[in-house]
């Protein structure tokens, strides 16, 4: 079977940077440079045509690097990647005809042009006839609620409006495969909802359209994606439907605790029955939020005793159904924040 997107043992290593001017030789004689960074480490995955595929991972996990390779902006160091059946390294032209990419927080375009003109300009780089382009822009501007701002100069648009404009730029070329790199980053709830709904409808209603979405928002990925890959340190840790991923840890028990801020979490490491845990501080309330993935309920008493021994008070304790976040914590060993 051929995929819309396929990678085989894809590896990308960024060479370290050597400093051009060195002040002094180090006493141990070591090189004054940043070592190479492995952004992707043998990633193999296949995304089916018509699929809305999600990729979850913390900062620096390799999500953007993967998208850039698939968008023909980067070459892999090793392995292969295919988009629409074409090798990204050897045959980029037919890939570029079929893809588009939108990133969260993008500042592309020219401030002197209006939103409409900017999108039209980018559509011309894909050879979309002007009339077709303008019709699509008008239609998409209505859908995304940007019609009122169609003739506003881009520099006058808010972050949310600008991101909607970027989304329209992504759709106006009618790509077969769309890469969305954290598209709702920094958007208000309403704007994010509009974007999510349009993307889901686009994939479901238009035959053969594929989306690869990276997101920081677990709920977003859970709601939107047919399948999700969890990536960390350049490796795919799991890849399945959200339901199956949650099922993977269904035998586990998830506990969420809200306690006074605690500094030392080392006592939880290696505790019998604790598969993984995450720790997040809420400085404004002087509280810590702890999530534990446990084999069973056995270690709860020991956890509580460890917390109280630090002088911290437990404000709430909740047993919950596994969420995608729990799956993530279970696999990565920490939350996304």
């Amino acid at each position: 079977m051929t995929y819309a997107v396929e990678t085989r043992d894809l590896t990308r290593i960024f060479a370290g940077k050597k400093r051009r001017f060195r002040r002094k030789a180090r006493p141990n004689g070591s090189e004054d440079s940043q070592g190479p960074v492995t952004a992707l480490d043998g990633v193999s995955l296949g995304i089916n045509e018509g699929e809305l595929f999600g990729m979850l991972g913390p900062n620096g996990a390799g999500k953007t690097t993967l998208i850039k390779i698939l968008a023909t902006l980067l070459l892999p160091t090793a392995g292969q990647a295919f988009v629409a059946g074409h090798d990204v390294a050897k045959d980029p032209f037919p890939i570029r005809q079929r893809i588009n990419m939108v990133s969260g927080g993008e500042t592309s375009g020219y401030g002197l042009l209006t939103a409409r003109e900017n999108i039209w300009m980018f559509s011309q780089f894909y050879g979309v006839p002007s009339k077709v382009s303008k019709e699509r822009i008008d239609e998409l501007m209505h859908v995304f609620g940007l019609w009122d701002k169609r003739d506003a100069k881009v520099r006058m648009l808010s972050t949310g409006q600008r991101q909607k404009m970027n989304m329209i730029r992504g759709f106006v070329t009618d790509p077969d495969i769309l890469f969305l790199d954290e598209p709702t980053l920094g958007l208000d709830v309403n704007a994010a909802r509009v974007i999510r709904e349009y993307v889901m409808n686009w994939v479901r209603k238009r035959s053969g359209k594929t989306v690869l979405l990276t997101s920081h928002y677990m709920a977003e990925a859970d709601q939107m994606c047919d399948r999700i890959a969890i990536i960390d340190k350049g490796r795919i840790l799991a890849c399945d439907t959200p339901a199956n991923l949650k099922r993977m840890i269904r035998t586990d028990t998830t506990f969420q605790l809200e306690v006074d801020t605690i500094r030392d979490t080392s006592s939880f490491v290696g505790l019998r029955g604790v598969k993984n845990f995450s720790h997040k501080d809420d400085i404004s309330k002087n509280r810590s939020h702890l999530t534990f993935i446990l084999e069973d309920e056995g270690p709860v008493a020991e956890i509580l005793s460890s917390i109280t021994s630090q002088g911290a008070k437990v404000h709430s304790l909740q047993k919950s159904e596994p969420t995608l976040e729990d799956v993530f914590i279970s696999m990565v060993g920490r939350g996304l924040d």
Binding site: K68, F93, R96, T107, F125, D174, G208
Partner: protein, 330 residues
């Protein structure tokens, strides 16, 4: 894989795609840039002040020379014609006419040079450094991801720059003619157009080549633009006929030859010959005849365009391999 949309790849489609890309990329320059009316002040009126300085100096020297010719003294009743007294009124009138003609030719040279300065500055700051800025604002990766030919991107920038700057250059030229009363005599308008467009293509070809190199060198290249402003104004003869440098013994010819590698130098020399007549300045201050200069410009245009294509192809490969050029944070 059953692709959702059948995509064309034939030659006709590719030509259409790249023409649309050229139009698309030139649009912000042609339409967007003129949305800021301040350009009239900064790019049409301010350059006139720069031109005015040279014009007034040349006019001052012209008036001085004229005063010497017209000044009757007991030993030279018809004034001085060179180092000797004029023999009669007709020789005096002949010398005065020559001085007047040379002064007009110098002032016209300055106005033409000032007009071409607009193109050179556009090439330096809006062409050569453009890809670097595109990278900074996040456009470059979107350009590199699009199916258009990379030369269409540079071509769009160049066409936009030419059109935008032509409007500014023409306004400077018209203002120069009306303010300083310069008289141009165009005997061969077709040749003039040919030289003008060959100069622009060669000049923007150079800018296209620089665009890739600037991106490669990053911020250091920014300083290179600043460095290339004033010295090039001088070595390319923007405010005087470049051939004059050949008459300066020692360093003069070396500077003139170095400056001639900028297409504007040769182009300006040819344009001056075509608008002032090749006999202006006694025909002694021109580098080559117009036909030879047009041939050189055509060679330069082709060469720079080829080099620009290879420089950008090299840069794109490097960018994809090292992953640090299309995105500002990598």
């Amino acid at each position: 894989m059953s692709v959702a949309t059948v995509r064309r790849t034939d030659l006709r489609y590719r030509i259409g795609l790249n023409l649309r890309a050229v139009v698309g990329r030139s649009y912000p320059r042609i339409v967007g840039a003129n949305r800021e009316p301040s350009w009239i002040f900064f790019e049409a009126l301010l350059p006139l002040l720069g031109i005015a300085a040279y014009v007034f100096i040349y006019q001052f020297f012209g008036n001085q020379a004229l005063a010497v010719i017209m000044q009757a003294t007991p030993t030279a009743p018809f004034g001085m014609c060179g180092n000797n007294p004029c023999t009669d009124a007709s020789q005096q009138a002949q010398y005065a006419a020559a001085v007047y003609s040379n002064t007009n030719a110098l002032v016209a040279s300055v106005v033409l040079g000032g007009t071409m300065v607009a193109f050179w500055l556009n090439v330096l700051w809006s062409m050569a450094s453009q890809l670097y800025w595109e990278k900074e604002i996040g456009n470059l990766q979107l350009y590199m991801m699009a199916p258009m030919n990379r030369m269409a991107l540079l071509g769009g920038m160049a066409v936009g720059g030419m059109v935008m700057t032509s409007m500014r250059a023409v306004s400077t030229l018209i203002a120069g003619v009306f303010v300083f009363g310069v008289i141009f005599q165009v005997a061969n308008p077709l040749m003039l157009l040919a030289v003008f467009f060959a100069t622009l293509i060669a000049l923007y070809g150079l800018g296209m080549m620089f665009a890739s190199l600037y991106l490669l060198w990053g911020r250091e290249a920014w300083n290179l633009s600043a460095l290339m402003e004033e010295p090039i104004f001088f070595s390319s003869g923007f405010y005087f006929p470049l051939g004059g440098l050949f008459r300066i013994p020692g360093w003069g010819p070396a500077v003139a030859i170095a400056g001639s590698f900028i297409p504007a130098s040769i182009g300006l020399d040819a344009l001056r010959q075509l608008t002032l007549g090749s006999t202006a300045f006694g025909g002694k201050l021109w580098i080559f005849d117009v036909t030879t200069e047009l041939e050189i410009l055509v060679v330069m245009a082709v060469l720079f365009l080829i080099l620009a294509r290879y420089a950008l192809a090299y840069l794109e490969t490097l960018a994809k391999r090292e992953g640090k050029l299309t995105s500002r944070h990598q």
